[in-house]
């Protein structure tokens, strides 16, 4: 199973991630009363990027983006996609750290380019990351404390009984907090300050063209995938759906349907983010930080206290 997951889950993640990118463009267009691009438009973009002759600001410029993409793929291996999970070593903590490496690689690469806009973008990225990591860490700690495990797989499996985490009411507040910070994790509006195209020429990736841009797009797709999948895994029960798959237990079909259920759940969550994305303007970075450190943090903090007290 692990061996299969090793090959399958990166593929699923990549395809689903690209699909989500395309979907989000399409949905946004529809919300704006446009026809919108074909859903496979991101794939075309990636191919186009690959075909172009990019520039490089040196070896380190290349290194950063390769590091970013490959660590994003490693991250996928730690994520239970349906019932597939290739690596469990280190649990959610290792996962958190690996989540850091993607943006970190891009930051290194962008800074090596020495573009002022990249530097500003990276600075914003890190500040935004700090801003949303505070509630995110609280949320994850709440979940880990509640289930008393650091393993993502176990968290998913425990939820199989009730179908989702909200069966235990203590986790409702962290769930809300996660939804509040989800746009920030995905880099969507109103938290789109990092790659603000209009003011800082898309920030960290200002110098990325050709294959660098292609790699970045893939990384971004994976990032979106991970951000949503994490929510699905820790709150919506991952592959489980209120005992729907119980009759199939032990068969290959259970795995396949598990993945499908997982992806459906993800799509659902994505929609929530997209609606917010489509109708909101952008926060300034200070506003974003203040917002993230106010409501989501407060909610998740209260959630953590409740979980600690009820334990």
């Amino acid at each position: 199973m692990n061996i299969i997951a090793l090959f399958v889950s990166p593929l699923i993640a990549l395809i689903a991630g690209m699909f989500f990118l395309g979907l989000s463009r399409k949905i946004s267009a529809r919300i704006q009363w446009r026809y919108g691009p074909p859903i496979y438009q991101p794939v075309i973009d990636v191919i186009r990027s690959f075909s172009q002759k990019s520039i490089t600001h040196g070896k380190f410029f290349d290194f950063g983006i390769i590091l970013s993409l490959s660590s994003s793929f490693v991250l996928i291996l730690f994520l239970p996609i349906g019932k597939l999970c290739a690596l469990t070593s280190g649990g959610l903590i290792a996962f958190l750290y690996l989540m850091l490496m993607g943006p970190f690689g891009i930051a290194l690469s962008g800074a090596a380019a020495a573009n002022p806009n990249s530097s500003i973008g990276i600075s914003r990225k890190f500040l935004l990351a700090l801003a949303y990591e505070v509630p995110l860490l609280l949320v994850l700690l709440t979940v880990m404390t509640h289930y008393h495990t650091i393993s993502l797989v176990e968290i998913v499996n425990i939820q199989a009984n009730s179908g989702w985490a909200f069966g235990s009411w203590a986790l409702i507040l962290p769930g809300i907090a996660y939804l509040l910070i989800l746009p920030a994790i995905l880099g969507m509006r109103p938290f789109e300050v990092v790659g603000a195209a209009q003011e800082i020429s898309s920030g960290p990736i200002a110098e990325f063209g050709g294959k660098h841009l292609a790699f970045y797009t893939l990384q971004h797709a994976l990032h979106v995938f991970v951000g949503i999948a994490l929510f699905v895994d820790i709150f919506l029960g991952g592959w489980t759906f209120f005992g729907l798959l119980n009759p199939l237990a032990g068969t290959v079909w259970a795995v396949i349907f598990g993945i499908i259920i997982f992806l459906l759940k993800m799509t659902l969550v994505l929609f929530i983010g997209l609606f917010v994305n489509a109708v909101y303007p952008r926060f300034r970075i200070e506003q974003a930080m203040q917002y993230l450190w106010k409501w989501p943090t407060l909610i998740s903090f209260v959630g953590l206290i409740i979980v600690v007290l009820t334990k």
Binding site: R25, A29, Q32, W33, R34, Y35, G36, P37, P38, Q41, I44, D45, I47, R48, S49, F50, S51, Q52, K53, S54, I55, N117, A197, Q198, I200, S201, S202, I205, A206, E207, F208, G209, G210, L213
Partner: protein
């Protein structure tokens, strides 16, 4: 997408992708930029052709020059053009880049953009309507299919010539030549 498209995709995916994914650097050079917002928003929705604006030339493959080009802007245009990765296409929008338009005798407006950077297609008019942009894009598709949108190649081949023209009008350029003898 129809059947024969698939064949083309398999044969030369890069070219096809370039066709259907125009990332445009909208350089707000002149009054023509006023026609761009309608074309990318709800009314005409350029995104259905894969055309989206990007913020930096590094990510773009289409350069839309919207309106007259003053000598001062020319420097920025050349710089931006040179920073775009190949393959890249230039479309001049409005009559001014073609022949100077109403600024034909202005002392600081260049009358023919083609002398300084290669232009793959012109959209004439003052101002052209947004529909004209789409017509221009479909023409560009055909040119790409026929490998005739080869402005960037011309630029490489005739770089000495272009650079001389640029220096003639701008004086000493404050950036090094894009192509030195080694990488020509």
């Amino acid at each position: 997408m129809d059947r024969n498209q698939i064949g083309k995709w398999l044969k030369n995916p890069g070219k096809m992708a370039n066709k259907y994914s125009f990332h445009v650097v909208y350089f707000c050079t002149g009054c023509g930029i006023i026609e761009v917002p309608p074309s990318i928003t709800t009314r005409w929705d350029a995104e259905r052709f894969g055309i989206i604006p990007v913020a930096t030339p590094r990510q773009a493959n289409l350069f839309l020059i919207t309106g007259y080009v003053s000598t001062k802007t020319l420097a920025a245009i050349i710089r931006t053009y040179e920073q775009m990765p190949e393959p890249k296409y230039t479309v001049a929008f409005g009559s001014c880049p073609i022949n100077g338009g109403m600024y034909y005798d202005s002392y600081n407006t260049i009358t023919s953009l083609d002398k300084y950077i290669p232009v793959d297609g012109y959209i004439a008019g003052c101002m052209p309507r947004p529909e004209a942009i789409f017509i221009g894009v479909t023409h560009l598709w055909k040119l790409i299919d026929m490998d005739k949108a080869d402005g960037y190649k011309r630029y490489r081949e005739d770089y000495v010539h272009y650079r001389a023209n640029q220096e003639q009008i701008l004086g000493e350029l404050d950036w090094p030549p894009l192509f030195s003898k080694e990488n020509l």
